[in-house]
């Protein structure tokens, strides 16, 4: 076994521990270094992951696999972590708990990366919990802010319940098949299909993962948590943690439970339609931008869920590409919101609802770079051409039509049209409404993170070929039943 297969994960672990140790000995004012260190470590891990695209191998007694799927999703997680850690340099400035903040984020990312590589349900579950527990703490990071604490509490309670449901589902599968290995379960497909327990475990697993992906009706926690948590943590949750749920669901349903395809396809079709519709409709009337982005992220998860229904290489490629694009767009949008929140709070420490849409008035003049980036992100989320969002929708929606699910594509396209309303509303506030405030200097770390995300969004929009290729390769891994 080649340990170098896991070079990115090892890099991340080393970075995390180094940040923790060095943080112990640094005075508060020089803790900024930790942010640079974490960002460098993530960049190194990202480089190693990209370099390892194309590798196919199993490791640790076949419990972990390295393939196009796992590496593609690791890139998604690392990209989100990178954006998060760059922007956090400003957010954590002056805090005594910088190292905890970074370590938790890094460990959450490691958990997500192992979920992407998991080839065994036990590994998958443990990695899932590593990521979840780290993010529970992060959501409550602002200890003095009751909203943040409420968000963390809700997220924790519902998260543990969903973890339990998932574990329950896994035990049923183990009971029927006698194994926790994903290919092993797939091999005993006939036994699962024959037993009523198969259906029960499908229901439990959909519920468990549906919580993490925030599919309606398992979504209640998401708007509250995304709104209450520090905006950068919301970025990590919406852009990263949600994708972990999706990759886990890909592995569990499409690989392990392919024998019950008919049953879960219907369930996912219903969930996809309800989720995207409710997400978009609910987003229309929000005045908190974080909450609006939370609902929009429900809608986006609904689109990605279409891949489960269509289940062709192109659709899965589209869904996986969407996951990457969404990582850039949604993380970017939350970081832009975080920059605005930072701006509002630095003007008035006790400002209520710093992410209220009124604070975006005239942002085009007050914070030109942030406003322009936010415009690009929301247009990308709406699916305006030449952005990552459009490319992903193009591949995903068109594959839906190709597979004969024209009705689903029509619903999705109508939803895209609805979504334009609230995305355009943000742009309207930023550029067309007069502002009371004056121009403020934009904090550099936020700006760098935004620019990186904009480059990602436009790169996928203008030059999608390599991204589509690797997303399709990742999709093929799923349809081939893993390796």
């Amino acid at each position: 076994m080649d340990l170098m297969l896991f070079a990115p994960e090892i890099t991340m672990v080393v970075t995390g521990l180094a940040v923790l140790l060095i943080g112990l000995f640094l005075p508060v004012e020089s803790k900024k270094v930790l942010g640079y260190l974490a960002s460098l470590g993530i960049i190194a891990a990202l480089y190693l992951t990209i370099a390892s695209l194309g590798t196919n191998a199993l490791a640790f007694y076949d419990t972990l696999s390295v393939d196009a799927l796992s590496q593609f999703f690791k890139i998604v997680f690392l990209v989100v972590a990178l954006l998060f850690s760059i922007a956090s340099i400003k957010y954590t400035e002056g805090s005594a708990h910088v190292e905890e903040f970074y370590v938790l984020a890094i460990f959450a990312t490691i958990g997500m990366m192992f979920v992407a590589s998991a080839n065994d349900l036990m590994v998958l579950f443990v990695a899932f919990e590593l990521a979840s527990i780290s993010t529970y703490v992060l959501a409550g990071f602002e200890k003095k802010n009751p909203q943040s604490l409420e968000a963390a509490m809700k997220y924790f309670l519902i998260g543990s319940l969903s973890g339990a449901l998932m574990l329950f589902g896994i035990t049923f599968l183990y009971g029927v098949t006698g194994t926790t290995s994903i290919p092993g379960i797939a091999a005993s497909g006939a036994a699962i299909a024959a037993s009523p327990i198969g259906i029960i475990s499908v229901v439990l697993l959909i519920a468990g993962m549906g919580f993490k992906i925030a599919l309606v009706p398992f979504h209640m926690w998401a708007p509250d948590t995304y709104q209450g948590a520090p905006p950068l943590v919301s970025a990590l949750l919406a852009a990263g943690s949600k994708k972990m749920g999706i990759v886990a669901a890909f592995k569990v349903f499409i690989v392990a439970l392919i024998a019950l395809q008919v049953q879960w396809q219907i369930a996912f079709a219903v969930l996809a339609v309800i989720t995207m519709t409710l997400g978009n409709v609910a987003a229309l009337s929000q005045t908190s931008v974080k909450r609006m982005l939370a609902y929009s992220s429900l809608a986006q998860a609904g689109y990605i869920t279409m891949a489960f229904v269509v289940l062709t290489p192109m659709a899965l490629g589209g869904g996986i590409l969407y996951a990457l694009s969404h990582g850039f767009m949604k993380a970017g949008a939350f970081i832009a919101t975080a920059a605005v929140v930072y701006m509002v709070l630095s003007g008035n420490k006790d400002a209520k609802d710093p992410d209220h849409i009124d604070n975006f008035k005239g942002l085009g003049q007050r914070m030109p770079v942030t406003a322009l980036s936010m415009t690009i992100f929301v247009f990308a989320l709406a699916g305006i051409p030449l952005t990552a969002g459009y490319m992903s929708k193009f591949v995903l929606f068109s594959s839906t039509i190709q597979a004969g699910f024209a009705w689903l594509a029509v619903i999705a396209i109508i939803n895209s049209a609805i979504s334009l309303f609230y995305y355009a509303k943000i742009v309207k506030y930023m550029y067309f409404l007069p502002t009371e405030g004056t121009k403020v200097s934009e904090p550099l770390p936020y700006t760098i993170a935004l620019v990186v995300a904009v480059i990602g969004v436009l790169a996928i929009g203008f030059w999608p070929e390599p991204f589509i290729y690797w997303a399709m390769e990742a999709g093929k891994v799923l349809l081939a039943g893993g390796i």
């Binding site: 305006i384 051409p385 030449l386 193009f394 591949v395 929606f397 068109s398 039509i401 190709q402 024209a406 594509a409 029509v410 396209i413 109508i414 895209s416 049209a417 334009l420 309303f421 355009a424 309207k428 550029y431 067309f432 999608p464 070929e465 589509i468 290729y469 399709m472």
Partner: protein
């Protein structure tokens, strides 16, 4: 490279214009861009072979091979006249707005340039992906144009326009997807090339699929055109837009272009071509009559012009459905002529509104005494619009009506009724607003300035020139319409 330059120069200059600080810099930048496009277009025009319907000046680069997307540009006799129209009117529009005082001039000119680049991109694109990208790109600057610099109901008008045409574009996108996958199934390779997909359309087995694809695309085009009953965004958007915005709307000839370029070659291969012809013919004829009646009822001069635009656009659909080369080329010429005429008419409305503070026809009167230069140009445009022989409008409408009479007598009769009404509202408005006794309460109005005279004068002269000698653009339109009609021969249509 030539076409790429024509499309990209406005887009690149749009960014540069956005970075300028003063009104002077912004307008000079915009003028440089539009004049460069005009020069390049004129060069293209003189190197264009109007005796063939083949695609010329083709450019091809592979872009996303796994999905069959390419960067593919090319023009033919359908697109070149429209490119020429756009390239001519745009510098005039910049000159027309030369001395205007408005907020954020850099954004204003930048949006104008983006619109130009996007519209030219639609005319040049030979790949559906590219076509759709440019198609959608036209929407954004126009939306902002109306919602920033528009009239009192600008927010309502801009949102209505956006939603209406965006939904139509999405339906069109569904049609494109349908065509793409149906052809992918038959040929085994993905391709979004427009010529390729048009050629493959006839090999799609299911007739219902062919009809649905056709109708989805048609819907996208006729909403943009627009045609009754999908026109209700038009009066609001055209009227609420600033003058420059209204002219940009007028130059947005992409709906009609789609009908000639994409719909007509597909038409004979639909499962029920006669039904499609009926739909297009009927919608066209009704638009002509209905638009004219609505225009007659308007009190606001600009709104009247907007509805007359609806009426004129009816000729485009009617002529296309006429399916003889006379009517089809007439309909193409109508697009060209309408662009020139309506530009002047909207500019006149803008000037009058600015000078007198009102556009209500009843409150105006005798303006010709104080604004003689405007009056001359305006009368010429109104005469061209009502179809006076010797001006471009006559040639277009006469060809459409005469040509369509071969196949669509009933619809032509409906359209003919509109001619009287058209003459009535034009003359009536002109008489009440411009002539008669000058109403003193309008205050001390001044005539159009030198830049405006130049801009409107050049367009007016072109209306006269192409009215007397249409062949420089009509020849290539005829070549292409004959080619399209040739495709249909033997299809029993």
């Amino acid at each position: 490279m030539l076409l790429s330059m024509i499309v990209l120069i406005p887009l690149i200059f749009a960014v540069l214009t956005l970075l300028t600080k003063t009104r002077e810099q912004a307008r000079v930048m915009a003028l440089i861009a539009t004049v460069s496009v005009l020069l390049l277009t004129v060069y293209t025009y003189f190197n264009f072979d109007s005796t063939t319907a083949a695609t010329q000046f083709e450019e091809f680069y592979s872009w996303v091979p796994s999905l069959g997307i390419s960067y593919h540009l090319g023009i033919d006799g359908i697109s070149l006249p429209l490119i020429l129209l756009n390239a001519i009117v745009m510098p005039m529009l910049i000159l027309f707005t030369w001395n205007d005082d408005r907020k954020a001039p850099n954004r204003f000119y930048s949006l104008i340039l983006i619109t130009q680049g996007a519209v030219l991109g639609v005319f040049c694109a030979l790949d559906f992906f590219l076509f759709y990208v440019f198609w959608e790109l036209t929407l954004i600057p126009l939306f902002f144009m109306v919602s920033i610099w528009g009239g009192p109901k600008k927010h309502y008008a801009s949102i209505k326009f956006f939603i209406y045409t965006h939904v139509a574009s999405l339906v069109m996108l569904l049609g494109i997807f349908g065509l793409y996958f149906a052809a992918w199934e038959t040929t085994g390779t993905p391709s979004l090339s427009i010529p390729h997909l048009l050629a493959q359309f006839q090999f799609i087995e299911s007739g219902i699929t062919r009809d649905l694809i056709f109708l989805a695309l048609l819907f996208g085009f006729i909403v943009k055109l627009p045609v009754f009953p999908f026109h209700s965004w038009l009066p609001d958007a055209y009227t609420e837009a600033p003058t420059a915005g209204s002219v940009l709307f007028v130059l947005l000839k992409i709906g009609g272009y789609g009908i000639f370029k994409i719909m007509l070659p597909m038409l004979p291969f639909t499962a029920s071509p006669n039904l499609m012809i009926t739909i297009m013919g009927a919608l066209g004829a009704v638009s002509i009559l209905y638009g004219a009646f609505l225009a007659l009822a308007q009190k606001d001069l600009k709104r009247m012009v907007a509805y007359s635009s609806l009426s004129h656009m009816g000729y485009v659909t009617l002529g296309a459905a006429g399916l003889v080369s006379l009517s089809v080329s007439g309909a193409m010429f109508q697009q060209f002529s309408h662009g020139l005429i309506m530009s002047i008419m909207f500019m006149s409305c803008g000037v009058i509104n600015k000078a007198t503070g009102t556009r209500i026809i009843n409150e105006l009167g005798g303006l010709a005494q104080r604004m003689p230069k405007l009056a001359v140009i305006m009368v010429l445009a109104f005469m061209a619009s009502l179809g006076l022989p010797g001006l471009t409008g006559f040639i277009a409408e006469f060809s459409v009506l005469a040509g369509s009479f071969v196949n669509l007598q009933g619809y032509v009769v409906i359209a003919l009724m509109a001619i009287v009404i058209t003459a009535a509202y034009h003359l009536w408005a002109l008489q009440r607003a411009m002539f008669g006794v000058y109403k003193e309460k309008l205050g001390n109005v001044v005539d159009i300035n030198g830049y405006q005279t130049l801009a409107m004068g050049v367009i007016a002269i072109l209306i006269l020139y192409f009215g007397l000698n249409p062949s420089p653009v009509l020849d290539m339109m005829l070549t292409n319409s004959e080619h399209i009609i040739g495709l249909m021969a033997g299809m029993g249509v």
